[in-house]
Amino acid sequence: MNDTALDQPVDIKTLRRLHQDGCLTDEAFTAALRTLRPAAVWFSWAERNLLFFGSALVLSGTMFFFAYNWSVMGKFLKLGLIEAGMVACVAGSYWLGLNKLTGKILLLSASVLLGVLMAVYGQTYQTGADAFELFVGWAALILGWVVVSEFAALWFFWLILVNTGSILYWVQVLEPAHSVKFEYLCLFIAALNGTALICREGAVKKGFSYLEGRWLRAILVVALLSALSIPPMAIILEIYAYSHLHAASVASALVWPMVALGGYVCYRKILRDMLTLALILMNACLILLTLIGKLMLDGHHGSDEFMFLLFALIIIGVVSVTAFWLKRTAKEMAKEIAP
């Protein structure tokens, strides 16, 4: 065999392409498929995904079950059932060990059940607690499990709880008292997710491989940029009258370009991740186009239809420049990474 095209690495996609092109008979294709992806690989994949999906569904079903507010079940039975489930999950996790995926999933299940227990407790005894207390308490109580679990999904779940608790705290306590402005909430949420992102990057550098998944980085970047984009967007769209603009609005709007620029430099030069760069540039495009659109179209009536055409061309231009930049950067980065 010559050593040109046949030296390319083979994957499932390539194999299917060759089969569909008629280069491989059904029998040869099946045999090649079995060689490339033997039954053991399929089983390993199925085992992992059945565990993820199965556990997610059982936990969701349990939440649905207790949300039904059963009148035929006594409070001790309800609380006892949840506690028993929780204890069983923790014991199972301890018995199997946290180095196994099943052990980690059981600890995640125990963490979810703890929240269900707190919710049912609040429902049964009508404690009068605000919703934010449930989330903050829940996050505080499971923190120990989160730390020992070495499981990215549990860390992510914990971050969702902290984010939700913080937003609810602002909605239920700070906003009614007018004591803290909305921009500070945005800054706090951005700081929270930004800190999580920095910790994640630091941990990966130190060898905590369980946090390596790029999905976690992407979600944290989106959360950080979304929170930071709200103050500048509010100023651009004049959600607050300019006379009501205060130092907090302007200061928080100024944080966005600094973080976006810092993020770009970091993920371009140090950590080299195209997906994150694309997210940052898309976010910048959104804010830039909103600003241009506002300046061009706001207050124009009647004969200014050409402004719409011009704005359409500007959108196409900005998106084209961004796409061109991303493609060029991807090529450069590929060269830099290649040995």
Partner: protein, 365 residues
Amino acid sequence: MKDTAMTIGELLDRPEVKHLLRPGDVESIDLTMSKPEQTLKDPLYIRILSGVGAWFASIFIIAFLGMSDIITHETGAIICGVAFIAVTVTLAKTCKSTFPSQLALAMAFAGNILLVGGLIQAFDHSMSSGEVLLVLLSSHGVVCATIYILYPSTVYRFFAPLALVIIATIWISLDLKEFHMMNLLLAGETLLFGILLLHTRRSAFIQPLIHAAATMLPATILFMNLTQGGLLDWHIWRTVPSSPMLPASALLAVGMVYLLFRLVGGVKQYRQPWLIVAVVAILLLGLFTTPGILVAIGLLIAGYAFGDRALTALAYLFLPCFLVVFYYAMNVSLAHKSWMVAGSGLILLAVRWLLQQRASKEAAQ
């Protein structure tokens, strides 16, 4: 555990594959692999950026035409639409740089909307709203198919077929108001996805349509659940089924069993114990669970089997969204839903346990 890492040459040299190759197969594989890809596909994030940008640009182009009185009459809209499509095709054939490509995409969206809008205006005077929607559906079908063939943009080829399903859904929900018609739509989508996935060459021409078909399924399921429940307070159906959508579940289960048999190499493999377990589990889910869970599992299997990470990501994204929406579906009580969801989870965990037992037995032997 990952797929075995090897080159095409190494794979073809393996004895279990080598003896099944026909004379000339190696040469034809070499030739096929030497050919460049049909089209150089941009990464997903660039396609999303292009699609969203072009969509907004097309809205402003149409706003400009509307405000400047160019498309006040149907003839103007139709002429503009055809002209835009012609410009799109010309740009796509002559220019490969980024700005003309982006302009072509925006013109394709705008041209499609203008042409279909013009046709609707032309028929609008003498028709009921239901008939207008039917004309909209068929005219978009024809326009979309024409542009799909002429204009090789993965972004257009993904979005335009999706619009077809959105129009069909609007027609069913606003005019027919029969919830069971949604089951028919779902059947059509399942069939389309299955045929495209299993019976076509997954070429650059078909690939966006496969992704569009894969997106249609979860979107339709979410719509079906949203409109049954109190989440959006929509009351659009004449009657809402009180049971959780058995026809759709049964249909999806049959589709998944077919997918499994195709993946393992046909019906002749039916004696494989793990296949029997998988088929029984899917049939049980078909009787027991809600279509959303089946769609998520189906997408997950298809994504892994075909090495398509977009389908896998869609499955993982869809499952939590579905569970949240399903929680608020008011036609089924929370108690019933809890049995369905937890039961489905238990079935999956039971399958996992059986697979583990078999694996440990094999390891012992």
